[in-house]
Symmetry: C2
Subunit: 120 residues, 2 copies
DNA sequence: CCAAAGTATCCGGATATCCAAATGTTAGTG
DNA sequence: CACTAACATTTGGATATCCGGATACTTTGG
């Protein structure tokens, strides 16, 4: 009957478990962001370098990087007027490798899946 | 110089690597599909059982299951007029666990990320 | 064969997402 | 103190995605 059964429930805005993980996956569901993440897996790069690498506008790249940073995929480091981004958690590489492995084994079926968009 | 440097390039429709993996991730970026996938991680279930579990329309659930099947996350088995779905590849569980682990460690930042939608 | 259960597909409509372009902000430079 | 470079944020428009409801398909049962 208590209106506040648990302390953590004080924030109704916070998505519960599954919603959070879905949001986490959504960050990698965009080709541009995934490309950026892979670019940042090995080395540290500035926003301008990322722009040159994927060919989108600077504003869009900045937003994408901010998104990846918010989700914990990459870490941002400020040095003067430069912003350096890089993957810090080794589990991120694991996740990408695992997904690549699974996707590769279902490549043909995946390509045929019209329920997700052919924009790719 | 050759116009066709590699045999695999003969199919321009097929998304190249990154696009494919992004599509793969996109399947898990929807809370309903992720909920279904977790439901099918341990046991085999029919479409009707899935409908009862997540509370969406039958048509929608069927489409979601088809999507998960196309992407290779679950396997479909036909028995009379029933369709049984289940996760078959153990790497799928690994992927979900890894994502849960990463998402949990970035829960607060993730919840604050407004670049991805607050619909959750 | 006809009816019903289980499942798959099609349909607009509401919302979310991505983009380029323009504008802000901050930190070096002359 | 202008001025520029690097980065961040905002805006409006096009497209994608998700949804319920209606409909078609398939198999079992009478």
């Amino acid at each position: 009957m208590a209106s506040l059964p648990e302390p953590a429930a004080l924030l109704p805005v916070e998505p519960s478990g599954v919603e959070m993980v879905a949001k986490f996956f959504r960050a990698l569901s965009d080709p541009a962001r995934l490309r950026l993440l892979e670019f940042l897996l090995s080395d540290e790069h500035t926003v301008t370098e990322c722009v040159a690498h994927i060919g989108l506008t600077q504003g869009r790249v900045s937003t994408h990087l901010g998104c990846l940073s918010d989700c914990g995929y990459v870490q941002a480091r400020r040095q003067g007027r430069f912003a350096y981004y890089q993957v810090s958690d080794p589990r991120v590489a694991e996740l990408v490798l695992l997904a690549r492995s699974l996707a590769a084994d279902n490549a043909t079926a995946l390509a045929a899946c019209m329920r997700i968009s052919d924009t790719a």
